[in-house]
């Protein structure tokens, strides 16, 4: 039987040339990320408490001022816009507490906290690990009997998974407080009305935000560690790794936010 030879058209060749490299690069990146996650989970129990605590301070405690400020003003502007918009439609600023509470706990609290932490902590992780990579400090860890993932990635992973949900909870609280100040002193909403609306929020709304924040934390730490560990090319490489860690984390947070919200709502959480 004659062998049938596939005919390769010029279009196919151009398409392969255009997509082949990026697709191979993407597959390689996905594979490396899966290996990094698997190894991080494997070493999870061997984490040193001291290192984890240090990272919680660096990531969580030191991020508190910026996340607090962000959520305070977000709560305030949310109350202001809601109040004025509803006053135009209904002649009075109604449902300010409900809108501020729901928006903050379900969306703005987790997303804004994660975006701010991605900028601050993600950049710091990628830059630190990237510098260690290009100055051969990661190789030095291997030669000193230390697995770099166990020593560097695991404490950051645990710290991020603890810090970001806690920061999100605090952001929710501060944002609601900011909304209260504007609602009461600027819009003239009675305090009891605002607080009653906030009290209507159930545990499901809170859990909706906290579950999402845990996924966002995992994205930030995994992408930043991956970019740091795979950094090449001196100072320029460290800069590129840092930028791409932040950009990829932020985009993934926003994209994943939609899908996580859809899944959680379909399960009746939030």
């Amino acid at each position: 039987m004659d062998e049938v030879k596939p005919i390769e058209s010029g279009f196919e060749r151009r398409l392969l040339r255009l997509l082949g490299g990026p697709l191979l690069g993407l597959s390689e990146m996905m594979g490396k990320i899966v290996i990094l996650v698997r190894q991080t989970l494997f070493w999870l129990r061997s984490a040193e408490r001291g290192s984890v605590f240090e990272q919680i301070v660096a990531m969580g405690v030191n991020s508190l001022p910026v996340t607090t400020l962000t959520s305070l003003f977000t709560g305030m502007v949310l109350a202001l816009q809601t109040g004025f918009s509803f006053r135009k439609v209904f002649n009075e600023p109604i449902y300010v507490g409900t809108v501020v509470g729901l928006s903050l706990t379900k969306e703005l609290g987790p997303v804004l906290t994660a975006v701010v932490v991605a900028g601050r902590v993600g950049a710091s992780i990628a830059a630190e690990l990237g510098t260690m990579k290009v100055t051969e400090q990661i190789d030095a860890l291997y030669t000193l009997g230390t697995n770099p993932i166990r020593y560097l990635a695991v404490p950051r992973f645990i710290a991020c998974l603890i810090s970001i949900p806690v920061l999100t909870l605090m952001a929710d609280f501060i944002g609601v407080l900011g909304g209260l100040v504007i609602a009461v002193y600027r819009l003239g909403v009675p305090r009891t009305v605002y607080m009653n609306e906030i009290r209507q929020l159930g545990w499901k709304e809170g859990m909706h935000g906290i579950i999402k924040s845990m996924f966002f934390a995992a994205i930030i730490v995994v992408i930043s560690c991956y970019k740091g560990f795979n950094c090449e090319g001196g100072a320029e490489g460290v800069g590129k790794a840092t930028t791409s860690a932040v950009v990829i984390s932020m985009v993934l947070i926003l994209v994943l936010d939609y899908f996580l919200s859809a899944v959680l709502v379909s399960f009746g959480i939030g």
Partner: protein, 252 residues
């Protein structure tokens, strides 16, 4: 004993090693010489399992390491210590913590024993009382000596030096050479060094191996290398631009 058998390694389309074979005998100091970018550091990193060869085998004390699992390799790596070209000291730790790092992670010594070993090792490299300094406060020569101290503190069977004198002034280079010779005599470790500094190679080596085009072209004693009739070796050790080795200068 370390044995590399017919090792190949490429990075993308760049073929670095093309059938490299080399034996390192116990107790000797073998220096690999060769031009920049010929794959000396890659050879060293393959020997200790930091890089995997594409083809070929690497034996450490008769155990083949290129196909080992990570935990098995970690056991074999306990026999090694590596002095990196730029030191690779951990910036966030002090000198004392850098030297103690391997002792704490690998040997699990208690604090008093660790401090004792750190102080002893630092005095061995002529740097007493600098435990509290940060690596950024040290000169190039001091960083190199701290890196050697960190490696020696591990009491390794095999000690690897990646360009031990690069970036140092001639006197400091000679100090480092003397230190390597002294450590070899005192501790009896097997050494593997890579360099293109011939003065250093002649001083520290029991044997010298020349790497060119991904293969070892000659392995011999320093005296025989000095008198080698191989045109590649001859050109390299005399540092002549005329000969079979043609350095490629990139045109921009």
């Amino acid at each position: 004993m370390i044995r590399m058998v017919d090792v190949y390694k490429s990075f993308g389309t760049h073929h670095v090693l093309r059938g490299c074979s080399l034996d390192v005998q116990d107790g000797e100091t073998l220096t690999i010489i060769g031009g920049s970018g010929t794959g000396k550091s890659v050879t060293l990193k393959i020997m200790i399992g930091l890089l995997k060869p594409d083809r070929g085998q690497v034996f450490i004390d008769d155990k083949e390491i290129s196909a080992m699992r990570e935990d098995e390799l970690a056991e074999v790596q306990k026999k090694f210590a590596y002095v990196f070209q730029m030191g690779a000291l951990f910036d966030s730790l002090t000198v004392g913590e850098n030297v103690a790092f391997g002792l704490r992670q690998l040997h699990k010594y208690d604090e008093s024993k660790t401090k004792e070993v750190v102080s002893k090792t630092l005095s061995l490299v002529g740097l007493n009382g600098i435990e509290a300094l940060k690596p950024s406060e040290l000169s190039g020569g001091m960083r190199k000596r701290v890196a050697i101290a960190r490696a020696v503190a591990m009491s390794p069977k095999y000690l690897f030096y990646d360009e031990p004198t690069t970036g140092l002034d001639p006197i400091m280079s000679d100090v480092i050479n003397d230190l390597i010779v002294q450590l070899h005599e005192k501790l009896g470790t097997t050494g593997v060094a890579i360099t293109h500094d011939m003065k250093s190679a002649y001083k520290i080596s029991t044997r010298i191996a020349m790497l060119y085009d991904g293969r070892i072209v000659q392995v011999d004693t320093p005296d025989n290398i000095k008198n080698s009739q191989d045109p590649l070796v001859k050109q390299f050790i005399t540092g002549s631009s005329q000969g079979p080795i043609q350095m490629k200068v990139k045109a921009y």
